[in-house]
Symmetry: C2
Subunit: 872 residues, 2 copies
């Protein structure tokens, strides 16, 4: 078994295909070598060593040391230099690289192999003592921080102090002697912290760095990242890349940078990135100096730019996707240090996929498959209203698009705490680090005063689909005072700000937002998706506005229109309350006839928006007590208006009170015991549809009975619906095609679905309640244990977010099979909230449902997810 | 098609086998005729006519009149008398008779064929004008009441008035002239009420009576009876029996009576019944005169007695069961007017079945099948404590055994109303009638001042298994004043009384009751049943007392021991509350260690009572808020004792409050999020068992995890139980066999039962919660619609009383099959409350469960029901 894979001299042991064992970085270094792209030679220690390491009590395989030595020898031969040689030393960079890139894991130690001896050789060979000493101080700091865990701040402060003493602003201005002073100081910090000398033996440095990479696989931040991203802990481990150093810090003809082959924020086909001259890689990412736009490279180093441009093209053609690269220019020679698939915003992803398909680089199916449906959510979320008055405080880098509004917090901890209290927050930091991951997750968006497009904050925010404004230098953050100053004004913790990740604007207060518009690429992609998918996509909408929006997003009808929300308006609530309080049927019908007028309008609006498409209207579902006032004041107010003693209202409240309302007197149970309400609703639906039809609008109402658990319920309610509808139609001297079906949300309904289907034209799985009952969880209460269940891995996913494919899906399968066995024309769909979740849609497709119904924003997600399933 | 079946002259067209069309009465009259028992000849109009009648708009089949005429002719020939003949008239009795005897249906019209003409013939032939006129006044009254619906009270009052005027006490003392006066008066009442003359045409009388019988099938009382007894309205209808009159009212050598071949109250093998000399049948049943004990007939009419005794023997040998007969002695000649299977108390049923099996009359299997398991309940209910002080107000006839305590009510309406308010009542009436059926059902017991063992109140109460004291003549009931006087003291409506249906005692106040002892017949029957049944029977018991009682009743272990009730004692509650309020694990464990001591004792007690039998102990199930105080006073009291600010308690209450506690943070969810409680309980169980074992007691604990819905829950809880048990056992330096299993009460658990069974030694279906979740009904709230669901026939039965054999049973079947497929040794039972219901036990057996667990009182019911199923 080979543990070490060499690359260099135009060929490599590995290739792109070995990502699992070489990690993404190692595999792509091998691949780039193979396709003739200039890559500093090196070797990759495979991730299998990492697995071995953890399975054998942190011991390496016996052969490893020999293998490393053999490859080191080969590297020395390719470079014609010796590791540790005091004349012309080979220096190495050591970098981690898992199959999946993982922030928080140990990343990079550069300049390994330097000590006072080899440094002399380096000085002699390069004639550049400044560069050599700069490289040395970097080695001590990186080794100290990354391998030994000394706080970065200690080194940074020491460097700042010396810079101050020397009166210089940038580290590039420090002289050789200054840098020697820095090295002494850093050595001191190292010894103080660790009670040992910085190791000057090159092989000790090398193995120290290798140990650190493997060790970092299991550090808390890496574990947290895997948890958030649903990656198993026992995944493939990390590889270690040992590579010949090339130097961006040798002087003015040297530089280092990062770039994307296309804009990862907008998707535009323009090179995108940053570089720093006379710097090493970490300077760009850490945001120590503000880097320059990659486009300026064309002017500053035209040859290098041209070569880079050719490589970009080659990479896109080879990888068929946007690449995110690191490069170094050492004395005008360009080296590629890394390439990987570029992370991008959802907007960019859509544009890039569609563009590439249209360029002929990929086919349409690939384009469809390229987009994670979940990310479309970002595209459909609000942006700031253009008309709104905005008090723009400052402008930073538009690092992750979108609009976020929230209260200012300055620490990740605060962000989490406030979020848990239901508050919306914006995390404001000078810069963020992997420790802040919880806080980034908790915040609506992130604002930093330092760093650029590729800073930690920017990368993470884009990954999470959250707005970010980075490098907003005008901000002066005072963590102690919990405030920031900007242009003379002070913003304190808890003050509202609004950040626009699309423009980089930072605004005071809560700026109003507007609905997004869908771009052309988006519409093109969705059209392609619709051409592929077989599962129907409808929407859950209770208002004409929602119905209209959803139709615009591609909904093929309303899968669930809840009628209870329609009773809550100020004009309406008194009537439903009077209905509940009514003493007899006659009294009740009088108030209901008032409500009927509102209901008819409601239904007309929705049916009109969905002209030609089915609209499934659910009859009243919640228990009546939800409509009664509950505070003492409200009771008194209502009683006085209704001309009743407050006691009567209180008595009714008590009468209707329930121990477990979820399992109580609601849904069709109410329809059966108090049939007037359903009769009113049915009358309003029929009248609305007839009205529209007379105006030439093709209204397609489907009446949905909630909470059926027994075939007799369906039979009796269907009978009374038909009776009422016939009555209304004959009074209108009209006729109408309409359907009657039921929500399937009671486990027993799934088990007796064949009998129920005899009286139902359609089934719509109400997966919210079905999940509650199948698990015995109250959605309102389950928070008390669900988090812990997820943490303890009792449940893999929250079943209210992703349909349970073991229990609930089994009942749905039974219900669908039985239902169709009795009624082959039965249409079957799903209208619970999971209907917009891709994993749940997959379950729906496997069961063989006809459609899913999702909230308007999630309609495009459902369309895309359904298309991807067909392609899989 | 024959509509009319003749019997007489030693042979009959029909037989016992034609019960469905001849009704019980008609079939048995035919059968008795066939086996040579003296029966007045007659014919039966079949129940098919009744069906025809209702299906054809109350018209008779065309042929019917001719058929009746033909049979009437035959009857005249057999009797050598003519119907309507003024010389020697044939008189008839007309009686209803359905396949199932049905109180409230029209019963009997006697003396049909009498008028002023035929009366003269009767006088001449019998030389007994008193008898003839007595018969005539009876005809007018019965015809008026039964056929025409005149209120009985009108005739009764008129008769009473004349008796008063004549200064006589009994109607037998009235002279011929007095009786003529009665007849005049009765004719007057008849005419006043109906605006028509009493029909003197014999055939008009005959058809009037026949019409009335068929018409009474659908009167409200008969319908009510069918509703209460779960008989379909479209059942077989009633037949009409037209039979030659024999007369018990011809003088001193005549009598009429009713009797049982064995005592229907105790089951003793002694003839039992009552008779009246010189009377017609209705006098005995109506309780007009207080009848004599049948045993005195031996002295008074020895020949008739001897003949009767022979007939009794013949009937029991023929029918293989206790017979309930009506007889008439006409001038020393004995005639049997009816025989039917005797209704009996549960106690009597058991004794009779066992005695008959031991006498060789029936086999053991038949004996087992004879007892309705539900009725055993009566045998196991309390009787009055012998030591209790009793203020006996009066003594009546011990008409239906058992002890009842309740508030006095005087009308059926009051009884229903108070019962609905949750009060216990005793219905006190001079006598009861079919109109009182609702009230009898609502009352704990019934007390009447008139009537005997076979009075309406007595018969109905025995059927319902309710205590009754009848004919308690010392009571003077004043309905208007709503009170009764007895021996100088006054008892008002709402006062408590206690009645002892076993002794006939009526006592003031609430007399304490004691547990019943099981008789030898009962034990014998149960032993036979145990020999037959295959399904195990365990008990639900939370205390050593219950466990002991249940073991005495034959429980083969504890199927469900709920531990939460053990926390409610005054000594214990503070500790569980402190546990809930504890700030950290350490704090919590301190309080739990106090509770552990109590728990260990609890478990020791139960395990000891059930020595050698399994005891399934369910770990804590309810949500924690159930243990916290809820009134302001209680909160303050607890807070002050616990040394905490009341606000802290209130805050905790709010924190723990749930919208739907049934679906909340309880069961193993609590065991997982707060593992200390289960650990405490497991420790206490293990310690208790080890302790007992050291004392040589074979303790068999089985630890049951509640509310598992996900295999991972079972796995993790099982692991932590085993860990704790190992810890305790190793600290005790001991070992122990115990099992770990789970309640299956979440639908999802049924669907994933195979995975769960990998970590479970047993399943116990918790059918209460499983029913709640499968239907989506909260048991606490479902009352709001369940009654209406039953009334509207949406549900056939209350699923919380009888296991739903369509939905819930389907899930149980899935759960059982999957569970056993993964773990062939899995023991599977049921421990919900339906476990003691015979229909539910049948479902359990069909699914193939190993055992059912029932409350102690229902253990014998379950044993018997399980045996009967094997015999079916």
């Amino acid at each position: 078994m080979d543990y070490v894979y060499f690359f260099g001299g135009g060929e490599a042991d590995g290739s792109e295909d070995l990502k699992d064992i070489l990690g993404g970085k190692g595999a792509n270094l091998a691949e780039m070598t193979n396709i003739g792209i200039p890559v500093p030679s090196g070797f990759t220690i495979s991730a299998e060593v990492c697995q071995y390491y953890y399975r054998h009590d942190e011991e390496y395989p016996e052969d490893l040391e020999n293998e490393v030595e053999r490859n080191l020898k080969r590297l020395e031969e390719v470079n014609d230099k010796e590791f540790g040689d005091s004349d012309d030393p080979l220096l190495l960079s050591i970098r981690s690289g898992a199959a999946v890139s993982m922030p928080g894991m140990m990343d990079t130690v550069l300049n390994v192999g330097l000590n006072e001896n080899t440094l002399e050789g380096l000085v002699e060979r390069t004639g550049n003592p400044r560069f050599a000493w700069d490289s040395y101080r970097r080695l001590i700091q990186m080794y100290g921080e990354v391998v030994k865990g000394i706080e970065a701040r200690e080194f940074d402060l020491a460097l700042e102090k010396i810079k101050e003493e020397k009166g210089v602003e940038n580290d590039t201005e420090l002289t050789v002697d200054d840098l020697k002073e820095v090295v002494d100081k850093f050595n001191e910090i190292y010894t103080e912290n660790l009670n040992e000398e910085f190791p000057t033996e090159p092989r000790e440095q090398l193995w120290g760095a290798i140990d650190a990479v493997f060790g970092s696989w299991n550090n808390p931040r890496a574990k947290k990242y895997r948890e958030i991203n649903d990656l198993p802990d026992d995944a493939l481990g990390t590889a270690v890349n040992v590579q010949t150093m090339v130097f961006g810090n040798t002087g003015k003809n040297s530089a280092t940078g990062v770039a994307f082959t296309r804009n990862p924020s907008t998707g535009e086909k323009k090179r995108y990135g940053e570089y720093l001259k006379n710097a090493q890689g970490e300077d760009v990412v850490a945001g120590v100096r503000t880097p320059k736009d990659i486009k300026t490279l064309q002017d500053e180093m035209p040859e290098a730019w041209e070569e880079l441009e050719e490589i970009f093209q080659k990479l896109e053609e080879h990888y068929k996707d946007v690449q995110d690269v690191e490069f170094t220019i050492e004395n005008s020679d360009l080296y590629m240090l890394q390439t990987r698939t570029g992370k991008r915003t959802a907007k960019a992803a859509v544009k890039i996929a569609v563009d590439m398909a249209q360029e002929g680089l990929i086919d349409k199916e690939t384009a469809i498959g390229r987009i994670d449906p979940e990310t479309l959510d970002q595209l459909l979320h609000p942006s700031f209203s253009e008309e709104a008055e905005k008090e723009v405080l400052a402008n930073g880098i538009n690092a992750s698009p979108g609009a976020a509004v929230g209260k200012v917090v300055f620490t990740a901890g605060e962000a989490v705490e406030k979020r848990d209290n239901g508050e919306k927050v914006i995390l404001v930091r000078t810069e963020t680090s992997p420790e802040d991951i919880d806080g980034l997750e908790a915040a609506e968006g992130v604002l930093t005063s330092r760093g650029g497009m590729t800073s930690h904050a920017a990368v993470v925010a884009r990954g999470m689909g959250k707005p970010a404004v980075a490098g907003c230098g005008a901000l002066e953050i005072d963590y102690e005072a919990k405030e920031f100053q900007v242009d003379g004004s002070t913003v304190k913790e808890g003050d509202y700000i609004s950040i626009d990740g699309t423009t980089g604007d930072v605004m005071l207060g809560q700026v109003p937002t507007v609905e997004p518009k869908m771009g052309e690429s988006f519409r093109t992609l969705m059209k392609w998706a619709d051409g592929v998918r077989k599962l129907g996509v409808r929407t859950n909408a209770d208002t004409p506005e929602d119905a209209g929006k959803a139709r615009d997003y591609g909904a093929e009808g309303v899968g669930l229109c809840r009628t209870e929300h329609m009773f809550f308006g100020d004009e309406r609530l008194p009537y439903i309350r009077q209905t509940i309080m009514a003493e007899d049927r006659e009294d009740r019908e009088q108030y209901l006839s008032e409500l009927a007028k509102f209901q008819k309008e409601d239904f007309e609006g929705i049916l009109e928006e969905m002209e030609g498409l089915p609209v499934m209207i659910r009859l009243l579902d919640p228990p009546l007590h939800e409509f009664l006032p509950d505070s003492k004041e409200e009771v008194e107010e209502f009683a006085s208006k209704a001309g009743k003693p407050p006691q009567e209202v209180t008595d009714k409240l008590e009468e209707l009170e329930e121990f477990n309302p979820m399992l109580g007197h609601r849904g069709c149970r109410l329809g059966i015991t108090m049939p007037e309400i359903y009769e009113m609703q049915v009358g309003a639906i029929i009248r609305a549809a007839v009205n529209l039809r007379e105006d030439g609008v093709d209204a397609l109402p489907k009446i949905m009975v909630p909470l059926v658990g027994e075939p007799q319920e369906m039979k009796q309610v269907r009978n009374s619906i038909e009776k009422k509808a016939d009555e209304v139609l004959s009074s209108l001297n009209s006729d109408l095609d309409y359907e009657i079906g039921t929500m399937i949300e009671i486990p027993r309904a799934c088990l007796l679905a064949d009998e129920i289907a005899e009286d139902a034209d359609f089934f719509s799985f109400g997966t919210n309640d079905l999940t509650q009952l199948t698990f015995g969880y109250s959605r309102d209460d389950a928070g008390k244990f669900l988090d812990e269940y997820l943490k303890k891995e009792i449940l893999e996913k929250n079943p209210f977010e992703t349909l349970d494919d073991k229990g609930v899906a089994k009942l749905m399968e039974t219900g669908t099979e039985l239902g169709r066995s009795a009624n082959p024309n039965l249409s079957v769909g799903i209208c619970g909230e999971q209907g917009g979740d891709p994993d749940s849609i997959e379950v729906a497709r496997e069961i063989g449902l006809d459609y899913v119904s999702a909230s308007p924003f999630r309609v495009p997600i459902a369309r895309l997810a359904a298309a991807q399933m067909e392609l899989d």
